[in-house]
Subunit: 331 residues, 2 copies
């Protein structure tokens, strides 16, 4: 071949080699230590993408679902969205002290989690109504964006948005490079998460599923808006996760990643079906770099899923042993 | 260049020219007559896809939503899903005559639409419960598949699946070839439609939004299932359409296609926003080839949307004038 032809052929190769093939050339999961968890993930992806292989899965059916709190970012000492609600309660009460007449709002504004918890479900509903509802969806998105721009984690002293797990971000990229569609299926609020998901995880809003409050369509002075109402619509946790997956996606995932008993049914639904399946649990066992908790923690309790993981073939990902790095390098 | 080089370059061009550019080479909408509706659609797509153009929209935001009944397939003399419910009622009553004690089921099994309508909302709820619920999602999908394989339209004497609109199928393809993500947003049942949407329209289940009944996750003898319950969850019609679009997609579409006043709010939500927008209404005015109806029809009433179309800049697509062919050629 002529030199020009060789050059052209090389250029062409760079164009036409599918991203998946390129991703496999280098280590696609550099923040993972070599160990059983990484090996299992790599083997699974290889098996479902190998053309003509016995476990081949067509790209359209390569659906992977991820819990968010504790799976894609930290969740201690409290869910980050609860920190948002508390900060928002503070701001609202500062602006309008009369709001402190509502006990839940008063407790939240004072940062008194014990008093808030004592109000039970009713207290939580009051807090959600005051901090998440009675605004349009556009206004809510703006409020969330403003909050994440300045808020800091209480003990790690970093922005919440810097507390995503680098190994899981690599995993999301790796799966997408291999033709997977990646979904977030979170107990957290769907509209809260959608503000952040694209930037943090490369997951577009239409691939985020979460808990929701009721909304209403309204035309205000000729301008249509979606208004957020102070009523719970759906709790995307436990048995709600497979229900939501079925409703939003209408396909059964082939891979599911969680970290708590709230993800049990999602992993069960995903893995108790014929064909190649991957279920995995992130275990928080690294007090030095992140947090160490499982059975006793009220946030992200992991007990039954951990007990049943071996028998169900679920992979346990140890943060301490399996992750070389936990958080992305500071920018 | 050498001959081999030229040949290679040509091969390469066929590989790397984006699908959009190729689609524009031939007429992408051959079943459409040249006229204002076709011209408007072509101009809109050109404007939002022109790199550097003032109306350019990034691919991720190219969301187009389509009503189904009356927009993508026929809806006369009754919604096809109602025909399914009636056929299913007949089959159930034939198998278990005691079911005819339920008045709505008796009326449906007798094909007596008047008696069914006389039962009002309660009757419809009874019919849905009997024909759509108390089965798992997998069982329901199988029942729908079996029905469409044999059922025939009462007057057109063709399978329901052959009554999609060829011009709209071309439009769906054309939009996708230009980087659009196409969604169905139907008043019909989400699980009913998902069985058919990929084959009929090239729309995958995760891009189908519709009305729904409640479902429940259950483990039966170790096997997890999604069970369909006899309670309405959500009616995806009128103001419900923008609410559902916001919930499932989380982005505002830039193009919306409907055919009745049930699509009014969806078109309003889509088009009453800054930037390039396309709203269009399929008008059923062709009694010879399909059906002619609008203001007076109880199915697919089109009145307010037709009145307001000019002032809102919505394109009215006349089946009689704008479509060269209506249905796909028989296979």
């Amino acid at each position: 071949m002529s030199k020009r032809l060789i050059l052209l052929a090389l250029l062409v190769a760079a164009w036409v080699v599918p991203p998946a093939a390129r991703a496999q050339a280098a280590d696609p999961l550099p923040s993972w230590n070599d160990g059983p968890a990484k090996a299992r993930i790599l083997a699974f992806v290889r098996s479902v993408t190998e053309p003509g292989g016995k476990d081949f899965v067509p790209p359209a059916e390569r659906i992977a679902v991820f819990d968010n709190d504790g799976t894609l970012w930290s969740e201690q000492p409290i869910y980050f969205q609860l920190a948002f609600a508390i900060d928002r309660a503070k701001a609202l009460v500062a602006k309008n002290p009369a709001l402190a007449k509502q006990p839940a709002l008063k407790a939240a504004a004072a940062g008194d989690l014990k008093a808030l918890a004592a109000r039970g479900e009713r207290g939580l509903a009051e807090l959600v109504a005051a901090t998440h509802a009675n605004v349009t969806s556009d206004e809510f998105a703006r409020i969330v964006r403003e909050w994440v721009a300045t808020a800091q984690h209480p003990t790690l002293k970093r922005p919440y948005t810097s507390l995503t797990f680098q190994p899981m971000r690599e995993l999301l990229d790796y799966l997408r490079a291999n033709g997977f569609k990646t979904y977030i299926v979170s107990g957290g609020g769907i509209e809260f998460l959608r503000v952040l998901s694209e930037e943090l995880y490369g997951v577009p809003p239409e691939q985020v599923i979460g808990s929701s409050i009721e909304t209403k369509y309204e035309v205000r002075k000729g301008v249509p808006v979606i208004v957020r109402l102070p009523q719970i619509d759906f709790i995307d946790d436990k048995a709600g996760k497979p229900v939501a997956i079925h409703k939003f996606i209408g396909r059964r995932p082939i891979a599911a990643f969680g970290n708590s008993d709230g993800d049990f049914e999602m992993l069960e639904w995903t893995t108790a079906a014929p064909g190649p399946r991957l279920g995995a649990i992130v275990r928080h066992d690294d007090a030095a770099r992140e947090f160490a908790y499982d059975r006793a923690s009220p946030v992200g309790t992991l007990s039954r899923a951990l007990d049943e993981a071996p028998r169900r073939g679920w992979t346990v990902i140890s943060i301490r042993d399996d992750w070389r790095t936990v958080f992305p390098a500071a920018r």
